[in-house]
């Protein structure tokens, strides 16, 4: 009987310890927009936008104050029925193209977008010229002529003589 009572009180204690924690963990406010389509748009847009405070995070991931403000603004604009383009323009007007994870193709970003393709092209050209040169070298490697063979053996014989002299 006593063990049962201890067990019961232990269980109650465990429960009382557990319950408030789960309440504390659930501190985050429920989303204001219940519309799942709007939620999806908020998520998609905030993943496309860079947080300027922690520059390698988007505003969906970042906990910086500015990111929270921008998420709130985003939500407000979606509720007000703004289109994706209007929202992106709003952000770009304030923070520049830098706010976009996918910057637009224009003069300033040409190197960014074209750079990898340009480097690949350069590499391919280098590869082909190298291969062609090597083919020429291989083509030039013909067997030695009679005359050349004779000269070669004479040279080798000379060298062998010299080596023998040195050894003595």
């Amino acid at each position: 009987m006593k063990t049962l009572r201890t067990l019961l009180s232990a269980a109650t204690l465990a429960l009382t310890l557990l319950l408030p924690t789960s309440n504390l963990l659930a501190k985050e406010a429920p989303p204001e927009v219940q519309d799942p389509v709007a939620e999806k748009r908020i998520q998609a847009l905030s993943e496309e936008l860079r947080c300027l405070v922690c520059q390698n995070q988007n505003i969906a991931d970042s906990n910086a104050d500015l990111a929270q403000d921008l998420r709130r603004e985003l939500r407000g604009m979606i509720q007000a029925g703004k289109s994706d383009k209007e929202i992106i323009d709003f952000m770009v007007a304030r923070y520049g193209d830098f706010v976009l994870y996918r910057p637009p193709v224009k003069g300033l970003t040409l190197m960014l977008w074209g750079g990898p393709a340009f480097l690949l092209l350069l590499g391919l050209i280098a590869l082909f010229t190298y291969l062609r040169k090597r083919n020429q070298v291989v083509a030039e490697q013909r067997p030695l002529s009679e005359e050349e063979n004779r000269r070669l053996s004479a040279m080798l014989a000379d060298q062998a003589d010299e080596a023998q002299k040195n050894n003595k």
Partner: protein, 195 residues
Amino acid sequence: MNKFLWPLVGFIALVVLLAVGLNLNPREVPSPLVGKPAPLFKLARTDADQPAFGPADMQGKVWMLNVWSSWCVSCRQEHPLLVAMSKRQLVPLIGLNYKEVRGDSDIDVSKMSIDVESAQARLRAQAWLSKHGNPYDLTVLDVDGRVGMDYGVYGVPETYVIDKQGVIRFKQTGPITPDILEKKLLPLIAELNKA
């Protein structure tokens, strides 16, 4: 050229490229607002009895807008320079107090009404200015940071130079240094005043 020299040339080019890249400041994001009209606003001043202030009130003058906050450490670093500058009376300096209460990570404003927050922001801003000196002709309170957002503020302090037509001509993110003040800001202001 010797073909063994080419890898060396390539290596040096790479080193130069990396050295330049590492010495650039990634925080220096060019503002799209330079050359655009300063966003309009109408905000309450720290001196409560005065009417609300907006950029329209500065039409025809070259002026500086400095975004600051009492919780901002770099602002404190920049402040003596602003105080010294204001004594020379070169240019009207307007303060934009940015998210004074809700920007302070020690304070939870989720249960605070906007009126209470505004009142607190005013008191805190006034106290800070009387403690550290007030270089501003006037300071307005951007309690929720919405005006700051229109100005593309992402790291206080930030400073804007606005010309007679109300167009932003320069933006500085981060504290102004004596060097920037003497070599960039003051010459620009002198030039804009002539125009």
